[in-house]
């Protein structure tokens, strides 16, 4: 018998509101099952259980605000501490637990996102109506009958966005926010708290390097010319893949600063900064990219971007990234000097790709250029290693065919 606790949803989220239980006492659950849905400032998030057993009791009522660490359910026959954590079910069990994995015995366990795409039980008659607190509040304000609504949220839950537009709700931002189940005020507050902590605690250093993207751009155009739209790649996938390969040689940028020490991670979960128009920022993790081919990186990026915008992220994808990448270049800036998301120890930034004159040998040439930046935690690494890490990413982007080769660990040229 053990209590299943409300998992951490990242350094910027302390609590969430329980929207719906997807299990009831007596149900069998296995690790990775989505058992509940919570609503947060960053939209609805599906909570995965990290132990297997039978649900003995649900300890929290729907519509209750719950803090991280609060017991949510009692689970019988749970084996959460008996078996070593397995962070990547498709692969063989790790023989040596990394520091981060070892720590997981006392922390909410993460699970492979891909195995969690399980069908939800659909709402049936006699069951309690599934609806988010925001949707319930709005519908009673507007005197609407929720029974008549079709829900688009997890497990068919009715979210605020499913309600017809309220004529009285005039302000554009709050209308958009409500439509998506986001709370811009709370989201702003969460970002403020995490970023203030970062700047208070983390001694950042900053580096910038200019990447000639000619080879990558040419390779990408040729690759995409032969593909149907759904099979094409975007440049961000190449940037992420190059980052993953470079991290193999520079592990001090991948992991967490915890208990006054750096805890490197063998798994690579890249947080991708995703802007939610005029509302705020979400940085969900693309999990286990160390095992992903270039095409798989693209699929994960596509999947997570879509769910981040629609409010269907899973607890294992929130607050678990081991390094964040931000590509603000999409918005036209040349460089972005990031603020590290604690407890991570670095953030990579990619600026706008633009054509620029560069010296090639003794001549001038006009080339597509991206400014890449690294902000890193000086407690963990020094500028020298940071410079080599950035340079390695640039080199990998110069050999794009290699990025597409396989998902195995690239042992390429090391710089020590």
């Amino acid at each position: 018998m053990s209590d299943f606790l409300m998992p951490s949803l990242g350094a910027d989220m302390d609590s969430a509101t329980l929207v719906e239980w997807l299990v009831k006492p007596g149900d069998s659950v296995k690790r990775g099952d989505v058992i509940a849905v919570v609503e947060t400032a960053k939209g609805a998030i599906e909570i995965e259980v990290f132990e297997s057993g039978v649900v003995d009791a649900l300890l929290i009522e729907v519509e209750t605000e719950i803090d991280v660490g609060t017991p949510l359910a009692r689970i019988r026959g749970a084996q959460q501490s008996a078996e070593p954590p397995v962070s990547s079910p498709p692969m063989e069990a790790p023989s040596v637990a990394s520091p981060v994995e070892a720590k997981a015995a006392t922390e909410p366990e993460e699970t492979e996102a891909d195995q969690l795409i399980a069908p939800h039980p659909s709402p049936s008659s006699g069951e309690r109506l599934r609806a988010s607190p925001l949707a319930r509040a709005r519908s009673s304000q507007q005197q609407l009958d929720l029974e008549q609504m079709k829900g688009s949220g997890p497990a068919g839950a009715i979210l605020a966005r499913d309600l017809p537009a309220d004529n009285q709700a005039s302000e554009a931002v709050s209308r958009k926010a409500g439509k998506l189940g986001f709370d811009p005020g709370a989201m702003r507050k969460a970002i403020a708290s995490a970023m203030a902590r970062s700047k208070r605690e983390i001694p950042h250093y900053y580096l910038q390097n200019r990447f000639d993207m000619s080879a990558a751009v040419t390779w990408l155009a040729e690759y995409n010319a032969g593909q149907e739209p759904a099979q094409r790649l975007i440049l961000s996938a190449l940037l992420l893949r190059a980052t993953v390969l470079a991290l193999q040689s520079y592990p001090e940028f991948n992991g967490f600063w915890q208990d006054e020490a750096f805890q490197p991670s063998t798994d690579i979960h890249l947080g991708m900064a995703i802007n939610i128009r005029s509302l705020g920022l979400i940085t969900p993790a693309l999990r286990n990219l160390e095992q992903a081919s270039l095409a798989e990186v693209m699929l994960k990026l596509q999947d997570v971007t879509k769910r981040a915008r629609n409010g269907g992220l899973r607890s294992s994808e929130v607050g678990t990234a081991t390094l964040t990448v931000t590509a603000l270049g999409e918005r036209g800036v040349d460089s972005v000097f990031g603020v590290i998301f604690p407890p991570q120890v670095a953030i990579l930034g990619f600026g706008r790709m633009h054509r620029e004159p560069v010296a090639v040998g003794d001549a001038l040439a006009v080339r597509p250029i991206i400014q890449a930046t690294l902000a890193a935690d000086h407690r963990v690494s020094d500028g020298h290693r940071g410079a080599l890490f950035l340079d390695r990413i640039g080199q990998l982007l110069n050999e794009p065919a290699k990025l597409a080769e396989s998902s195995s660990i690239d042992k390429g040229a090391h710089h020590d």
Binding site: A172, P229, R277, Q302, T305
Partner: protein
């Protein structure tokens, strides 16, 4: 397919891709990237959705030149 049905199909797919956009805010001349803040992933999804829905495969090189809903409608009207 008429231009107006092409237009509503495109707008419908746009809203699916970027649910934080409002159909009422989208017009023919607004720039997808600069005015509606579509990024390269959104563009990829749009090309993919148009291919699936209308059966028209817009080559990547053409797609990069189509910058507004109006551009897309005119391009697709020629191909359809």
């Amino acid at each position: 397919m008429t231009e107006s049905s092409l237009r509503s199909a495109i707008i419908e797919e746009l809203i699916k891709i970027a649910p934080d956009l409002d159909a009422a805010d989208i017009d023919d001349d607004g720039l997808l990237h600069d005015d509606y803040d579509l990024d390269s992933m959104d563009s990829f999804n749009l090309a993919s959705a148009i291919h699936q829905r209308l059966g028209i495969n817009i080559p990547d090189s053409d797609f990069a030149r189509l910058q507004s809903v109006g551009d897309l409608v005119r391009y697709l009207a020629q191909k359809a």
